[in-house]
Symmetry: C2
Subunit: 161 residues, 2 copies
Amino acid sequence: MTTTDASPQDWPAIWPILRQVAAAGETYCWPRDITEDRTRAIWMAPPPNLTLVLRDAEVIVGTATLHPNQDGPGAHIANASFAVDPRCRGRGVGRRLAQDTLDRARAEGYRAMQFNAVVETNTGAVALWRSLGFRVLATVPEAFLHPTAGYVGLHVMHRAL
Amino acid sequence: MTTTDASPQDWPAIWPILRQVAAAGETYCWPRDITEDRTRAIWMAPPPNLTLVLRDAEVIVGTATLHPNQDGPGAHIANASFAVDPRCRGRGVGRRLAQDTLDRARAEGYRAMQFNAVVETNTGAVALWRSLGFRVLATVPEAFLHPTAGYVGLHVMHRAL
């Protein structure tokens, strides 16, 4: 598996992954029916945003974005988002993509990485981030309306780089 | 003092307030030299963003924006930003604007208000928010580069509505 910068030509392979993640409504603060144009504007945003893809035997199996969590005096802290093709779960794709994105954030000079909205019922993601050194700084109560669990918390997670 | 929705005609009075706040570099995660166009795009964003102005005897002395902190399943939590004309400090302008914005958020149906980045050295603002029922959920360490204090924390603050 190899992580590289995404090119515009990768979008047709990225979009079905993001569409499925959004439609499930369980992990992303996006409308479940988010349009392709809007998703592309978010995911393939211009610099300082970076878009990464993870390929397994030439096939894109995961994707990430990496960008400053805040602007100006807060731009030294990275934020990142991740999505893995649902058909490829359980193969270490998420962990590999996470590790490669942390390495890239370090190389780009960020001093820490922060997530603002990790859904607390997304226990796989929370466990992955903890295993990679992230701490839950706070859980914002009832901040996410889950399709089956109702109002659940959003973790703010952080690690130094 | 009266708080109303801003009209496009109010921008020439809003911009000098925001320009000064940004240039000071002490409280906002904006570039200190942020352009007028970019500031306007942020502050006067289309719905669901709302822009408010507080007038004292016809003169705009403070301004706020109110919008969802996240989209989709997170859109029931409000986020807001505030700026007061530096010449009008100490007159209760910030408190009045804060109270009116909380009332408006409640009227708009938000269930809570969250701030993601309250600079911990901005003790006046932190005290104001605490007095209005906000709690510090977490302090993200060294997340803001202050022009004189160096790296300081950013508070995540929250209150139910």
